[in-house]
Subunit: 312 residues, 2 copies
């Protein structure tokens, strides 16, 4: 559940007075999400999502929030932040920094079609282009430095066989050099549950709180690894081709990106293998969320390692 | 008709490459509007309105365009401008400065209900609040200086009786001092045809090209003079009360605003009486638009002059 900080209609009255979005009609907690508290806020003007940040401090938010505003401003399907009367996106309620955003239409799709993958690829490429003029800077908090520092905490907790595979994968990635590939602002977590689909169209990308400056191709790999994956861990060729076709219709990959593709797909899987291993073996004290299966991304890596065609 | 500059799908292809809003599906000229060229542009991402400015130069646009973006950013129902990949709202096409905006839902309402007047009043007040943090500055191009300079060009063309009435009205307004009333950014032209209503809700305020810094109450008077008027020129009491109730629910009028109300209603009518007289007697060479009846606002002034209750 995702309501960690309770908000009542009485709390919200004075809060909404600091905005120009009308008066409250309905307030409803949102069950999805595991990090922040989210409410649907319906006013006389429309429907919004109110987020109370449970971990991020107000001074950590501008990169993400201004990015969302920048992308919305460029017509990218994202939840547009709403500024208050003091012209600030970040406000405060019940001791938490807050953000109000426009509701975007659509629902999370569990079993995406190839047509939906095409649209996600297309919007991702448009997002990469639109973010080209965004000035904010944020290092990737889950990059190679992070996984190289985190994995040693896990080796002893894993089976010897899995630990060996993880070491081998880290070694393989240590030998890669993606530094010269096209960079920009990436979402870095564009899984199915971070996209609302409105039929076959992208209603909105959400949850930008892993966004950072990194290699664009890595973002595409993270997205493909989730949107196009089968239960086996292998990719579904039809969905993968559709997602890449959608992406490349907007931004064609360069020769060195095509060369890097097989290994960056594994890097994108490694990042989530390590974070899931960490959540599995080192759950935070009092954490209510149940850890997701780390084995999933181990299987994705195996499947990528066995493939010779990468739909490019 | 409002397509002065023709745009083809072939023109639009390279233009849309400078944006991140998908590729063109449909292009359709918009018949409404008498100053600029407007097209509906439907892309794979959504529906937009493309304006080609026929009179305003690119360097005159930032005040209006940034205001629209500011208001959209604060949740006010306006057509949000879309920035291009160079992070500019104003682009160029076929020799004209251009603006792309999101389509807002709704249609122009010819015979508004009291409920709709309430919503327009409410949104207008919210707009006045939200614009409080807007930094742009623009003098009212149709203020007292303008009408005092324009009326002398018209006296000799009018009937002696009407000219006498106009002189008297100018004299009455010359005796008023609205300078200490609350000021801010006003729309200054919020007639029915500049609001798209989505049922009883405001879908969007449009056409901000008379927006300027002026007295807030004057904006309310302009709006009421159109939204609540009867054919006789008198105001419909029910609609007028509803519009004022909607407005004051958000921003209660101050004592000096209430005192100024009867005369500012006449000032708001005078501005349009003079501009319609000018368009009637001094049509621009080659002007295709047929001038609107100047007598309408003369009757509005008479009706205001006869009333003692002003629904406040």
């Amino acid at each position: 559940m995702s309501v960690f900080t309770t908000v009542t209609a009485e709390d919200l009255g004075p809060f909404l007075k600091r905005y120009s979005i009308g008066s409250l009609l309905e307030l409803k907690g949102i069950a999805a999400g595991i990090t922040n508290t989210n409410y649907f806020v319906t006013t006389t003007h429309g429907r919004y999502v109110l987020t109370l940040f449970e971990n991020l401090a107000a001074d950590e938010l501008p990169f993400y929030v201004n990015l969302m505003a920048h992308l919305a401003d460029h017509g990218i399907a994202v939840a547009a932040p709403i500024a208050n009367l003091a012209d600030q996106y970040v406000d405060e309620l019940n001791g938490r920094p807050t953000l109000l955003v426009q509701c975007v239409p659509g629902t999370v799709v569990d079993e995406p079609s190839a047509a939906q993958c095409f649209e996600v690829g297309e919007m991702l490429a448009q997002m990469h282009l639109a973010a080209g003029s965004y000035r904010g800077q944020m290092q990737n908090p889950r990059g190679a430095a992070w996984w190289n520092a985190t994995a040693p905490l896990l080796f002893d907790l894993m089976s010897a066989a899995d630990a060996a595979l993880l070491r081998a994968e880290l070694a393989l990635q240590a030998g890669q050099d993606f530094a010269d590939l096209p960079k920009g602002v990436i979402h870095a977590d564009l899984f199915r549950d971070n996209v609302l689909m409105n039929g076959d169209h992208v209603g909105g990308f959400i949850d930008f709180y892993y966004a950072c400056n990194d290699v664009l191709l890595y973002d595409l790999a993270i997205t493909l690894n989730d949107w196009c994956v089968c239960e086996s861990g292998d990719m579904d060729a039809e969905r993968a081709r559709a997602l890449l076709l959608g992406y490349q219709g907007v931004r064609a990959l360069k020769v060195d990106e095509i060369a890097a593709w097989p290994n960056i797909l594994r890097a994108a899987a490694l990042r989530f293998w390590v974070s899931r291993l960490y959540d599995f073996y080192k759950p935070a004290a009092g954490e209510m969320t149940f850890a997701k299966d780390p084995g999933h991304f181990q299987r994705v890596i195996s499947a990528h390692a066995e493939r010779q065609d990468f739909w490019l």
